[in-house]
């Protein structure tokens, strides 16, 4: 079934983190600015961003120095607004 790309795919913001070994991508079209991810980040690496999300509230952006690409933020996001991609060969992640 042919489907149009959803709006939220546009304007995704990707940041290299963890010494370039991973990419943090935020989808402002999905982020509602709840902040659950910020609270859960063990490195306190997430800051509020100037970029606004789908409800006009701030999204988050990672501090590339602190982010270890541990994926906790990805997991706790109720909206799947964060994707962490590891650039190295995918190791066993689970």
């Amino acid at each position: 079934m042919a489907q149009k790309d959803p709006e939220y795919l546009k304007k995704a913001i990707s940041v290299d983190v963890h010494a370039g070994k991973a990419t943090f991508t935020i989808f402002p079209g999905l982020c509602k600015g709840c902040g659950l991810c910020r609270e859960k980040c063990p490195e306190q690496a997430l800051d509020w961003s100037h970029k606004l999300g789908v409800y006009g509230t701030p999204t988050v952006s990672p501090n590339p120095e602190l982010c270890k690409a541990c994926r906790i933020c990805e997991q706790v996001c109720p909206d799947c607004a964060i994707t962490i991609g590891r650039k190295e060969k995918e190791k066993e992640e689970k």
Binding site: Q3, P6, Y8, L9, A12, S14, T23, T25, F27, G29, L30, K32, G33, C34, G35, L36, R38, E39, K40, V54, Y55, T57, E74, Q75, V76, C77, P78, D79, C80, A81, T83, G85
Partner: protein, 252 residues
């Protein structure tokens, strides 16, 4: 040129056309439904699942998945799903509801489906309030908790105690039933519980029930920090997490 477009890690069974979903910022429904979506993907059952959602915030999931879905009345998702399963046992049927729908207006359906050992999976999201209607007291509101209808805190002498759903269901359910309480604060465990609940149905063993402790920052009026504190530290004081009934008898 970019090498490859980065995509959100949504479960394949989610319906991308209905995203961002309709739940509030910080609402736990998204996490319960993420766990469920991942389970549907892992079990490869997207073509056999029928999902029913209740009234209350759970109704907002009526087009959440790319699975056949029916949105029912408040409290009535359990009987609709029971009716579907009885008429076509090939389907994998999931009833999705909140604490009001499951423990108050629809409690007779939950009790009787459990007692009949109907071969369905019920997932009940407990956020301690009637959220869709604006934050009134729910069967699961905790002692002294403030809601719109208990503005001075829930007085258990007046209004009774919070309903312990899995404990009740486990007490009346029979051999073959699966009963657990998970929390969105323990995502992987919650996902495991949901997976076991659906596998239990697929094995034809009978009624499977998972309560998920969840968040409602909108009605709790909490920021992210307080939201986590409430679901992680306060709710489990009344609602212990774990498996309450496992076929074969092993319980956590």
């Amino acid at each position: 040129m970019e090498a490859k477009q980065i995509l959100p890690k949504m479960p394949k069974s989610w319906n991308p056309a209905s995203k961002p979903h309709k739940f509030c910022p910080g609402c736990g429904h998204g996490l319960v439904l993420k766990a469920l979506g991942q389970v549907i993907d892992e079990l490869n059952i997207q073509d056999r699942v029928v999902f029913g959602c209740d009234i209350g915030c759970s109704l907002l999931s009526w087009d959440f998945f790319n699975v056949d879905t029916v949105q029912t009345h408040h409290g009535r998702t359990t009987p609709v799903i029971v009716g579907i399963k009885r008429a076509n046992p090939e389907l994998i049927t999931i009833a999705y509801m909140g604490d009001g729908g499951g423990y108050a207006i629809g409690s007779q359906h939950l009790v009787n489906a459990a007692n009949r050992n109907d071969n369905i999976t019920a997932i009940l999201v407990n956020n301690t309030v009637y959220a869709m209607t604006g934050g009134q007291m729910a069967p699961t509101t905790m002692p002294d908790q403030k809601t719109e209808t208990t503005p001075y805190g829930r007085d258990i002498k007046e209004t009774g105690y919070p309903m312990l759903g899995p404990e009740m269901v486990a007490a009346i359910a029979h051999e073959g039933a699966y009963v657990a309480r998970g929390s969105i604060a323990k995502f992987r465990q919650l996902k495991t519980f949901i997976k076991k609940a659906i596998e239990n149905q697929m094995a034809g063993r009978g009624f499977s029930f998972v309560e998920a402790l969840s968040t409602c920052p909108t009605n709790w009026r909490t920021n992210a920090e307080k939201t986590w504190d409430f679901v992680e530290n306060i709710m489990p004081q009344y609602f212990p997490i774990g498996e309450y009934k496992v076929p074969g008898g092993k319980e956590e």
